[in-house]
Symmetry: C2
Subunit: 139 residues, 2 copies
């Protein structure tokens, strides 16, 4: 990918407060939910904190296939879809690495709360649209 | 569902300019794309115009399982996911019914352009979140 294109993609990613997570449910239907990203490494890896008991977490445990969708509806409309696989990380080291104290509101037991886990998305391909520009790419 | 809840859901739907469409690709990965709804009947049926040659149209032809996701990120954050099935309608009557003259930009041959088709989504279940409120329902 051209350097300028990657810069444009990363700007979209960085400016999106929310990202839509896609999953596949037990009946084979696509599901979608908005979440806030916490940390990402370029467009390759994205981390999210969530409830171990959440519907989506259970879906990823039985089917890791997922997608992320970044969308800008104001100004120059643009969309970036990344497809890839989602891991559910529950080990103490990972949970500690990403923990923020403000999260006690969600996870009363703190960093060791069994209902707190980290989702790690690793991208395999992408589809970017912005005006007439369209990029399909593998990662 | 309570009347007040349905009113709240419909307000979210009506105020969303864009809706995220979910599909499942040939490798079983969920896909997502923002589109503009053109007509809807409550939360049961939604219609979209699109290209017959689009990736998503081909996905729905081989796997009609889909979802719609309506999301409000400003003010009172809310999300509504509807899962259901997507039909690809290419008959002359349906194409005429929804046609708008401004679409000649996209479909140069007009209403009979073979690359113009209508997607019809029929919902089967829903998942609504707004603050502490959460509704899971069948349709």
């Amino acid at each position: 990918m051209e350097k300028e294109d990657m810069k444009e993609l990363l700007e979209l990613v960085d400016n999106c407060k929310s990202v839509i997570l896609g999953s596949v449910d037990g009946q084979g239907y696509p599901n979608a939910k908005a979440m806030q990203k916490i940390v990402h490494e370029g467009i390759l890896c994205f981390y999210f904190s969530t409830f171990t008991s959440a519907i989506r977490t259970r879906q990823y445990l039985s089917n890791p296939k997922s997608c992320l969708y970044f969308f800008r509806s104001e100004g120059k409309v643009a969309g970036l879809m990344l497809t890839g696989d989602m891991e559910v990380l529950t080990d103490a080291g990972t949970k500690q690495k990403f923990w923020e104290d403000g999260w006690k509101v969600y996870y009363p037991l703190g960093v060791t709360d069994p209902d707190y886990c980290i989702l790690k998305f690793t991208a395999r391909s992408g589809n970017y649209n912005c005006g007439p520009k369209r990029l399909l790419f593998d990662i």
